[in-house]
């Protein structure tokens, strides 16, 4: 059961990691294009610039974190009955909500405050911290 669950979790983590990396890297290309073509909607709005950059950076880093989890984290969780699924789910929620919160926060933002989607970020950050804490704990327990 553990092995089956772990294999399924590995598959999920890889799928999520590579897909997410592809999407958020593509956003990076879009941002470069906005600079290249001097897109005023992007260049004239410093808050939108910041939020989209944060979305891109968090998306790429958390996708990498998911892949790192697949290769380095899952072996630490072999003893768990769910094969690390709960922790993986937290990581994937964080990987989804944090970059999306930043990117969507650029929509309908105020003069100095992002749009309401920004509230996804602290929720995702909480999930990320919980997952990382459990992984850190598992790393101490592992032999």
């Amino acid at each position: 059961m553990n092995e089956l669950a772990a294999a399924a979790e590995l598959l999920r983590a890889r799928r999520f990691g590579w897909t997410s990396l592809c999407i958020w890297a593509a956003l990076g290309l879009g941002l470069e294009a906005a600079h290249g073509w001097k897109l005023s909607a992007y260049l004239d709005d410093p808050l939108t610039q910041t939020l989209l950059r944060l979305g891109h950076a968090h998306g790429v880093l958390l996708a990498c974190a998911s892949l790192l989890y697949a290769s380095q984290g899952l072996p630490l969780l072999a003893a768990r009955s769910d094969g690390g699924h709960a922790i993986g789910r937290l990581l994937r929620i964080a990987g989804l909500t944090m970059p999306l919160g930043f990117a969507l926060g650029a929509l309908g933002h105020g003069e100095s405050d992002p749009g309401v989607a920004i509230f996804l970020v602290p929720a995702g950050a909480l999930c990320l911290l919980l997952a990382l804490a459990q992984l850190a704990l598992a790393s101490f327990r592992a032999r």
Binding site: P46, A86, G110, E111, S112, D113, V116, L126, L130
Partner: protein
């Protein structure tokens, strides 16, 4: 995990309930301190940037290479025998030296006031700032004596080789601490010590900055440190009670915010103002603290002290009385008109600050939509739709307000009535453009259009000369200034045969008028009329008549300073 999530949700719900309660809590005016625009810009960078473009923002500045617009390069200006020299001191000071042939004195510029049309200079002495007698004319890039900006006649000069008295030269060297400070800074407090007579003047910020219109921001900054509060406000669409947004208060209250400075006013307790400052906070009723000056306002129980600042019908005839004009406007009675109906503080050309989407007649047709129908404008104005006579302001906001060697449009939005205007001794819209016409011609034309009986028979005396000719020669200084300016406007319409006469009249004014401001306007108009081309001839006015009219003008001497 579930416990943690539940805890987080409970905390959030508790905070949200507090936030909802907090949103309803009104501002405590007494506790709300001024924080300066630097604090505002941390969250409102775009509004800050749009406001910094305006001349309000640079109204009062410490003297520096960035703020001083004039070249202090040794330029000289001689006025009535006194030579002023503008140069840099040994440590880079912006220094003015004066020499009247007998004595020599100097002053260093400490602050500047204004940056749009004119820049005035302040010197500091014993903690008190004084306005210097020389200003910088920004548009024409030249120094001028303050008598040219304010309506002051040339002072008497004992003989051509002798300079005027120092007191006459320094006529406009006034104290900043209890004059200019009130309208050109945020939260001014002259700080007069009634015992010693000394000033400890304080302002929240030099120049007209955010809190001049929005009120003190201390409470706004503190309470909006809570992000939940900010999002609750954004999502609810409610006005933030911790700050005044002039666009979200009643039109009359919004106009009071501008009227505080653009409507000269008086308080019943002047000494309190001088000791404790102006307590008005934008958003509160202005009438709690002061009332706008009017033609019949009394000073120390005496009437007439301010009468010269208004036409006989009460219409303001000086700038900084726009609020009074607004209050007198028919458009105001509907309760919808506010200054920001036409003006924008954060958009548009800094000169005039007209809302960019309302350039031209759209300022009026945003309400008077019936005039946008095809043919409606020409039917309404009896002028060709494309002509100057069909521009709303030409008839309803004529140029009859004097300020700083310029003539500006009136902010009393009204229906033109040349007959009534003649009776109250003020220029009218019709003859301000039709500069070769008489008042009765204008009154008759209007009566014909309105199909009513002409009421000009009693004004036959005015029919002998074109209205503007008589005003230029026989009016008081403001009448003459307004007339001198009208001749040179590109809207001035006259028959080709009148050109020579107009040139002669303006030349005559340039030669004889004792007010430098009137001469200045005549000189500008003369250049404009000559620039139109055509023959030039000496004045066609009979010398005896010109002399009689000038004698009338001499009796109407007035002096208008601050």
């Amino acid at each position: 995990m579930a416990i943690l999530a539940a805890l987080a949700l409970a905390l959030l719900a508790h905070d949200a309930r507090d936030t909802a309660r907090e949103l309803d809590r009104p501002r405590t005016f007494a506790r709300s301190g001024y924080v300066g625009s630097g604090q505002c810009l941390r969250c409102h960078a775009q509004h800050g940037a749009s406001f910094r473009r305006t001349y309000h923002a640079t109204m009062t500045q410490e003297a520096s290479a960035a703020s001083v617009l004039a070249p202090f390069d040794g330029s000289e200006l001689e006025y009535m025998g006194v030579r002023a020299r503008m140069q840099r001191g040994p440590r880079g000071e912006y220094r003015m030296t004066f020499d009247d042939g007998r004595t020599h004195w100097q002053a260093d510029v400490a602050r500047t006031v204004g940056s749009h049309r004119y820049q005035q200079f302040l010197a500091r002495e014993a903690g008190v700032y004084f306005r210097l007698p020389i200003a910088w004319d920004v548009a024409r890039a030249r120094f001028i004596h303050m008598n040219t900006a304010f309506l002051t006649a040339d002072p008497p000069r004992p003989n051509p080789s002798q300079a005027i008295a120092r007191s006459d030269y320094d006529r406009h060297v006034t104290r900043w601490n209890d004059n200019c400070v009130f309208c050109h800074n945020v939260h001014p407090n002259p700080g007069l010590d009634p015992v010693t007579g000394r000033f400890e003047t304080r302002v929240a910020e030099l120049g007209v900055a955010c809190e001049a219109c929005h009120g003190p921001g201390g409470e706004h900054v503190a309470r909006n440190a809570d992000p939940l509060r900010r999002y609750a406000l954004h999502l609810s669409g409610r006005a933030d009670p911790t700050i005044t947004n002039p666009r979200r208060v009643a039109p009359a209250r919004s106009a009071e915010i501008c009227g505080r400075c653009h409507g000269q006013r008086i308080t019943s307790d002047v000494s309190r103002f001088l000791v404790h400052g102006d307590s008005f906070v934008p958003g509160e009723p202005l009438s709690k603290f002061s009332k706008p000056l009017a033609r019949d306002t009394t000073l120390h129980g005496q009437s007439g002290a301010f009468a010269a600042r208004f036409w006989n019908d009460g219409t303001p005839r000086l700038t900084a009385y726009e609020y009074q004009g607004y209050l007198q406007s028919a458009c105001t009675s509907g309760g919808k008109l506010e200054c920001e109906s036409c003006h924008a503080m954060h958009a548009g050309d800094p000169a005039g600050q007209i809302r960019p989407e309302l350039a031209g007649d759209r300022m009026c047709t945003q309400c008077h939509r019936e005039l946008t129908a095809p043919g409606a404008i020409a039917a309404h104005t009896h002028h060709s739709a494309s002509s100057n006579g069909s521009r709303c302001g030409a008839c309803h906001m004529p140029n009859l307000v004097y300020g700083l060697a310029s003539v500006h449009l009136s902010h009393r939005i009204e229906t033109p009535d040349p007959a009534a205007n003649a009776a109250s001794g003020r220029p009218d819209a019709c003859t301000s453009c039709h500069v070769d016409r008489t008042r009765s011609w204008a009154a008759d034309a209007l009566s014909r259009w309105l199909k009513r009986e002409s009421s000009t028979s009693a004004n036959d005396a005015h029919t002998e000369l074109p209205a503007l000719t008589e005003q230029l020669l026989a009016g008081d200084p403001i009448v003459r200034a307004v007339a001198a300016d009208a001749f040179g406007r590109n809207t001035a319409a006259f028959a080709p045969g009148h050109r020579a006469r107009i040139v002669g009249l303006l030349q005559d004014t340039l030669d004889h008028d004792p007010y430098p401001a009137v001469r200045e306007l005549a000189a500008r108009s003369l250049a404009a009329v000559i620039g139109r081309g055509g023959p030039i001839a000496p004045s066609a006015l009979a010398p005896e008549l010109a002399q009689t009219l000038r004698a009338r003008a001499a009796q109407a001497a007035i002096e208008i300073g601050e």
